[in-house]
Amino acid sequence: MTSFLFAMIIAGTPLLFATLGEMLTEKSGNLNLGVEGMMLIGAVAGFGMGFYTGSGIIAILGAAVAGALGALIYAFLTVSLRANQVVSGLALTIFGTGIASFVGTLFIGQKMPDRVIDSFAKVKIPLLSDLPFIGPILFRHDYFVYIGYIMAICLGIYFYKTRFGLNLIAISENPSAADASGIHVNLYKYIHILFGGALCGMAGAYLSVVDVPQWQDNITAGRGWIAIALVIFVKWNPIMALFGAYLFGGLSIIGFRLQHLSISQNLLDVLPYAVTIIVLILSSIRKSKEDAPPKGLGVPYFREDR
C-alpha cells in the first residue's frame, strides 16, 4: 500500500505542474488548450538540455523557458491580437507535438546521462520523513516533487492572500472592472500565461528527465488534457490541485498494481480518461457561484469594445 501511494505521488507530479500552470493561465481569464503541446515542448527541451549539458538544473530551466516560449505564441495571438482562444490553444498543441517529435528524432533510443539522473536522486527530508505512514509516502522523493508541494502552497497564498492575486481574480472575473480600477490587464495576462507555460514545460521535463529518463515519442500521452480537466475538478484552487493531481496520478498507475487480478489491461488503461469524463460531467452539474469558472474565461478583452 505504502509503495503504491509513493508511486502515486510520482505519477501525479507532472499532472500537478501542468494543472497549476493551466490554473494560472485561466485565472488571468485565458483558456489555454495548448497544455499538451507546452508539456511536449518542455519535455524535449528538458531532455536535450540535460543530454548535452549533463546538468539537472539546466534541464529544468531549459524546459521552463521552452514552455514559456510556447505560451508566448499563444499569449501574443490571444491577448495582443485577440484571436480565438480555443483555436489558438489547439494550434499550440499540434505545434508542440510536431516540434517534439521532430527534435526528438535526435534522441531516439538515448538515455539521460547518469549525472543528471543522480541529481534527481531521492532526498529524505529530516524529521518529516520519519513521520509514521505519511513520512515514507510524502517526504522521501526527489526535489522536483518538493517543488511541486511548495508551488501549490505558494500559489494558494498568492491567489487568496496577496494584492496581486486579488487583481488577477478580478481580471478573470470582470476584466473591464479591473481595467477601470487601473489594473494593467494585458500585462497581467502576459505574465501569468507565460508563467503558466513555464510550469507546463516543467511538467513535461519531469517525465522525460526524471520519471522515464529516456526519450519516447509522445511521452506525455494525453496528460495535458487531463490537467485541463483537473483545473475544473479542483475548482481553480491550487491546494485542491495537490489532491486532484495525486488522485489522478494514482489512477494512471493502478493498472500495474492490479495486473494480478484478471481485469483487462485495456480497461485499466482507459480508467484515468474515463474518470476525467465523469468528473467533467459531475462538475458541470454542480452549480454554485463560488465554484463557478471565472466569468471572463475565454473572452478576449478590448477596452473600447462595448
Binding site: 496577496t162 486579488l166 479591473a178 477601470a180 457561484k289 463560488e290 466569468k295
Partner: protein, 508 residues
C-alpha cells in the same frame, strides 16, 4: 474658496470615424458643486466623460484638473488625478466581497491587511451615510447596495471628482432619494460631482448647475434654480417639444388575457415568478412597474411561451396557453417585443437586414420551399415611411442603425402582425425624447384599435401618464395593481420596494 475650479475642459473635440461625437465642448465644474450633464442619446455626454476617466483620448482641446493642464492616458492615471467614475453598468467582481472590490488595483503591501481595511472603510461609510456591508459578497447585494460599493470604491481611492453615469436608472424612487442624500453629503465634504442624466426632474432636484449638450456641442451652462424643465428640454432637443403623454379614452372591452397564480423557477432553482395573477382587457394599457430584474423578463417570456411555467394558468380568451409552442402563441395574435439592455440581444438578428429580420417571423406563413423577399421589401419600405426610421435602405444591416431606429424596427414588426395582445418591455430604453414620443403614439394607436397592451417600463412618470392601470412587481411577486390616475409616485415606489400598502384601492 467656494469657486475653486476642479475640472475644466476646453474646446474638446473627438471624432469616431466620420462622426463628430464632441465638437469644441467647454465644460467646467467647481468644488462642492453638483453639476448635471444633460443631453439626448448621442449628444456626446458619455464620450466627454470617458475622456475624463481615461477610456478615450481627445483629438484636440485641453483638460485642466485642479487648475493644472493634464493629459489622461488611462483609467489608472485618471484615478491618480482624483477622478472617480461610477459607470452605469457596475464594474464589480461578483464573487468577491465589497472590500475586495474596493482595494482591487490599489497599490500597497504585497499581502492584504483585511482587518485594517475594514476599519478604514467603516469610517468612510459612516462619514457619507452609505449603507453597505464591506464583507458581503457582491452577488448577494441589491442594486442599491452595489451602487454604494461603487461609490465607496471611488471615495476610498481619494477621488474628489465624481462622475456618475445615469446613476438612478436602476433604482427605486426611495433608493434614488437615498442616493441624492449621499451625493449632497459628498458635495458638502468638498467633492465635485458630475451626474449624467436625461431625467429632467432629477436635474431639477439635485443639481446646482446644468450643462446641456446637443449633437456634440455645448448649448449652454445654466444655474438650475434659474431655469425650468421646459426650457431645458427645448435646449436639449433644439426645438419646442410637447412633453405631455396622451392617454386616449378607450372603453375597456372583453378580457383578453387572464394570468392566474403563475409560478416559474429558474435554473438555479430560485422562484422568479411567485403567484402572479392579473387580467388584461381589450383597449387598455396595463403598465408593469418594478426595479429591473424583478421578473419582468420571465413574465414576458412565460406568456410568449419561451419560459417554462412551473404552475399556474395563462388563459387567452377561453383557452390555456400553457404548453403551447411560441409559434402557435404568435399565431393566436400575441406578440412580444422585449428591448434588452443591449437592445439587440432578443428579437432581431444584428447582422441581418430589415427584410430578413421581418422574414424571421413571417416566413412560415409563406407557401412553397423558397422564401419570397419581394413582398416583404414593400412592407418594410412602408414601415420606414410611417415610423420615420432613418436607414439607408431595407437591405442595410440593422446593427448599423442607431438604437432608436433599431427599436422602431422591432416594435414596427410586432405591430405589423396585427396582434391582439402586444407585450412590450422597455420600449423606449435609451431613446431620445422625439423617438420616445413616437413609440408612445404607436402604443396608443394600438390601444385605440382595441389591442390589449402589456407595457413594461422603467420610468415611473411615464407609466403614470401613459397607462390605464399599473401592476407593481417586486422580486417576482405582484405587490399591487392600481389605477394610474389615482395613485402617486410614492405609493408605486413603496410597492416596488416590496411593501403591500394597506387601504389602497386596488384596481380590478
Amino acid at each position: 474658496m467656494k469657486d475653486q475650479v476642479f475640472v475644466k475642459m476646453e474646446n474638446i473635440c473627438k471624432t469616431f470615424g466620420t462622426v463628430k461625437a464632441n465638437d469644441h465642448i467647454n465644460f467646467e465644474v467647481n468644488k462642492g458643486e453638483i453639476h448635471a450633464l444633460l443631453g439626448e442619446n448621442g449628444a456626446g455626454k458619455s464620450t466627454l466623460m470617458n475622456m475624463l476617466s481615461g477610456i478615450y483620448k481627445p483629438d484636440s482641446g485641453s483638460i485642466y484638473i485642479h487648475n493644472t493642464p493634464t493629459k489622461i492616458g488611462s483609467p489608472k492615471e485618471s484615478i491618480e488625478k482624483g477622478i472617480g467614475m461610477i459607470h452605469q453598468h457596475y464594474k464589480l467582481v461578483e464573487v468577491q466581497t465589497a472590500k475586495e472590490n474596493v482595494i482591487m488595483g490599489q497599490k500597497g503591501s504585497f499581502f492584504l491587511h483585511r482587518k485594517k481595511l475594514s476599519k478604514d472603510l467603516k469610517e468612510i461609510i459612516d462619514q457619507f451615510g452609505l449603507t453597505v456591508n464591506p464583507d458581503q459578497k457582491i452577488y448577494d447585494m441589491s442594486i442599491g447596495e452595489k451602487q454604494a460599493v461603487e461609490i465607496l470604491k471611488v471615495l476610498y481611492r481619494g477621488a474628489d471628482i465624481l462622475i456618475m453615469d445615469e446613476p438612478t436608472a436602476v433604482l427605486t424612487p426611495q433608493e434614488t432619494k437615498k442616493l441624492f442624500k449621499i451625493m449632497k453629503n459628498m458635495a458638502k465634504e468638498g467633492c465635485a460631482i458630475i451626474i449624467i442624466t436625461h431625467k429632467l426632474n432629477e436635474v431639477m432636484e439635485i443639481s446646482d448647475k446644468v450643462t446641456v449638450l446637443r449633437k456634440g456641442t455645448t448649448v449652454g451652462t445654466l444655474i438650475t434654480k434659474e431655469t425650468t424643465p421646459r426650457a431645458l428640454t427645448d435646449l436639449m432637443v433644439g426645438k419646442s417639444v410637447n412633453l405631455s403623454i396622451e392617454r386616449p379614452l378607450v372603453k375597456r372591452g372583453n378580457r383578453l388575457l387572464k394570468v392566474d397564480k403563475l409560478n416559474a423557477i429558474d435554473q438555479e432553482h430560485v422562484k422568479v415568478l411567485k403567484d402572479i395573477s392579473f387580467e388584461l382587457y381589450e383597449g387598455e394599457i396595463l403598465g408593469v412597474a418594478g426595479v429591473s430584474g424583478s421578473g419582468q423578463k420571465e413574465l414576458c417570456e412565460a406568456i410568449a411561451g419561451l419560459y417554462p411555467v412551473h404552475s399556474g394558468e395563462i388563459i387567452y380568451k377561453e383557452e390555456s396557453l400553457i404548453g403551447k409552442s411560441p409559434r402557435s402563441i404568435i399565431k393566436k395574435g400575441i406578440s412580444m417585443s422585449f428591448i434588452p439592455e443591449d437592445r439587440l440581444g432578443m428579437g432581431l438578428v444584428a447582422s441581418m437586414d430589415m427584410v430578413d429580420n421581418y422574414l424571421l417571423k413571417e416566413h412560415h406563413n409563406q407557401k412553397g420551399i423558397m422564401i419570397k423577399r419581394k413582398p416583404i421589401e414593400g412592407i418594410c419600405e412602408k414601415m420606414i415611411e410611417t415610423l420615420e426610421i432613418k436607414t439607408p435602405g431595407v437591405h442595410h444591416p440593422v446593427k448599423q442603425l442607431s438604437g432608436g431606429n433599431i427599436q422602431k424596427v422591432l416594435i414596427g414588426r410586432e405591430i405589423d402582425t396585427n396582434p391582439n395582445v402586444l407585450i412590450t418591455a422597455y420600449a423606449v430604453r435609451g431613446l431620445d425624447i422625439g423617438a420616445t414620443h413616437t413609440i408612445y403614439d404607436l402604443v396608443n394607436e394600438q390601444k385605440k384599435k382595441n389591442v390589449g397592451v402589456l407595457f413594461i417600463g422603467e420610468d415611473l412618470d411615464v407609466l403614470l401618464e401613459l397607462c390605464d392601470r399599473i401592476m407593481v412587481i417586486c422580486q417576482g411577486e405582484v405587490t399591487g395593481i392600481v389605477y394610474a390616475e389615482r395613485t402617486t409616485r410614492e405609493e408605486v415606489g413603496l410597492m416596488m420596494a416590496g411593501e403591500r400598502l394597506e387601504g389602497l384601492v386596488m384596481a380590478q
